[in-house]
């Protein structure tokens, strides 16, 4: 008490402050791995961890001039993912080895677009976004055309790079920095 009155610090106060400091340090030490753990889902596209070409099937399964629904297994997958592992996409074979592979997700809010071959349009059931057969925006609220997967043809088979839910700031493939890059 007399120490405090003089403006100094008693032994007890000092110990309490050191105790607080030690606890603060412990919190920081504990928080570091916890924050790292929480931020783990932020994947970097160029990390290479998920880069993988996915086989969509033989070229013959996609007749020229037609657009068909194809399904693939998500490259990043756990046994408990269940049915969410199955990802659909629209494959348009223009001619020969020229393709366009569109993500199912509408560029507006991610709902599944449907292909109507009769009118050659993709329509979205949610807010009425419509796209032409080449994926470009035709009408409705979408701010851009459909998202595309990078693709390549290898050994008579169509391969795409996938693995990500495409939004306005993420692409359909984990690698591709810009969308619609061809092969």
């Amino acid at each position: 008490m007399s120490d405090q009155e003089k403006g100094g610090m008693s032994r007890r106060d000092l110990m309490a402050k050191i105790g607080m400091l030690l606890n603060g340090a412990a919190v920081v030490i504990l928080a570091t791995p916890v924050v790292g753990y929480l931020l783990a889902p932020i994947v970097r596209g160029d990390g290479g961890r998920y880069r993988k070409w996915i086989d969509l099937g033989e070229l013959d399964e996609f007749p020229e001039g037609q657009t068909r629904l194809a399904k693939y297994k998500n490259p990043i997958s756990n046994p408990w993912d269940g049915e969410t592992d199955n990802i659909p996409c629209w494959v348009r074979r223009i001619q020969g080895e020229k393709f366009q592979v569109f993500a199912i997700n509408c560029a507006h809010l991610g709902c599944p677009v449907r292909w109507f071959p009769q009118s050659s349009l993709f329509m979205c059931p949610c807010h009425g976004g419509v796209y032409y057969q080449d994926g470009s925006r035709a009408s409705g609220p979408p701010p851009r055309g459909l998202f595309e997967y990078p693709y390549k043809v290898e050994g008579g088979r169509l391969m795409i790079e996938a693995g990500q839910l495409p939004t306005l700031s993420t692409s359909a493939s984990l690698r591709a920095r810009s969308n619609g890059c061809q092969g």
């Binding site: 997958s77 709902c111 609220p141 993420t170």
Partner: protein
Amino acid sequence: MSRLAKIGEWFDQRLQLGGTIRETMAHEVPRKSASWFYVFGSAALTVFILQIFTGIMLALIYVPSAGEAWNSLQYLNHGVTLGWFLRGVHGWGSNFMVAIVLIHMVQVAMFGAYKFPRELTWIIGVFLLLMTLGMAFTGQVLRFDQDAYWGLGIGAAICGRVPFVGAWVVHLLLGGPIIAGDTLSRFFAIHVFVIPGLLIGFVSLHLLMVLKLGINDWPMPGRLVRRATYVQEYHEMTKKDGVPFVPEAVWKDMFFSAFIIVCVMACAALFGPYGPNGQPDPTIVQTVPKPDYFFQWLYALLAYLPPEMETPALLIGPVVIIGFLVCLPFFAGEGEKSWKRRPIAVVTILLTAVALGTLTHLAGYTPWSPIMNAWSGDPVPVQYLNGRSPLERQGAAVFQGKQCRNCHSIGGSGGMRGPDLDSVAVRMTHDQLVRQVLQGGGNMPAYGKNLNPAEVAALVSFLDTLHPGNQLPARDAAQEVVSHDK
């Protein structure tokens, strides 16, 4: 002393809670505040407790795994005794909780209860509302069906609109680059641990403050709130004309809470549990995703906003609204409490209610969405085909076959995305129709590449016939003059 009283005394000697409880029960509330208008807060608490209880019951069976959640919900519905009923109570309890929290908030705003010294009680209440909505959304995700899957997609698409760090936000929301097992697991943790924990803490604080500061006095026009004098005035009022909380006020709370619980159970018994609808398999693309009731206004808003307004509205809108609600007691913390002398407050609340109600009503029949099977499901009305030329009938076939019907209704059925075409020939001339079909515009796709000239000719000749018998089709007067000159 009876044995029971002795046991009670033994506990109280150790717990030391009896005094506080007796004090709380006996504390005086203003006579007029012991009113039926003041029952919504306690009803919200009651439904919250019901939600905790039924939530724990459901967690005994539910499997929080993307691969098994849907199956475990089916098992709850059909394989577990009264599982369907507990799911129903939890689902309907969620609806009631959001509704009661909103009503409570409106009542508090109308009665000026957020003013000094209850500002912090209101601000915590705003967070409680946000957490309640958070529970409603995460709960919809745990009902892991098609709507949940695509609802997550919508959430991710909204997060993807955040500038610069959008990709990070999407990945944090989904627990990875795509909707999968980790997504459901984290929503389970948020729905079951994180938000309920916060809710329990904040509800306790909210209640504690109501007890410490006293329940809001019944607003009287002309009795102004002033920081310097309010607390003293309030204490004088409760002393002079107060009634003990128990039983004068509490019996109304208890009656209303019991009534709400009966209503929740009746809804659960009559209407049953929510879903789950289709399996969360994204390859089933024949689906029309829709959010739960309390988010449908947002779903409608996103259909009507101009595209360039969407991202600002989605990202700035919530900040403005929450900021306004949090700051409200600071710029309107004093003065008149009565709704009779606060026209701006009353109009704001009414306009908000009408806007939300209208948007929710529109979301009930989604006039902005194409009807995906109208082209193959709804026939062309017979009166539009009777006595028509072969070319015009061919046009009707083109009209159906090219999915025009998905967005345009004729004869009262079809989509409402575009205008109905029952009298389109009155509005547009032949040439205008051709141009519209080929070039589109006005939110219609251009069909120039998808129709050959013969199909266009047939389609437009059919559209030319679509006018009421007593109204002539539109004509281009200038063109007639030109052709007469020839």
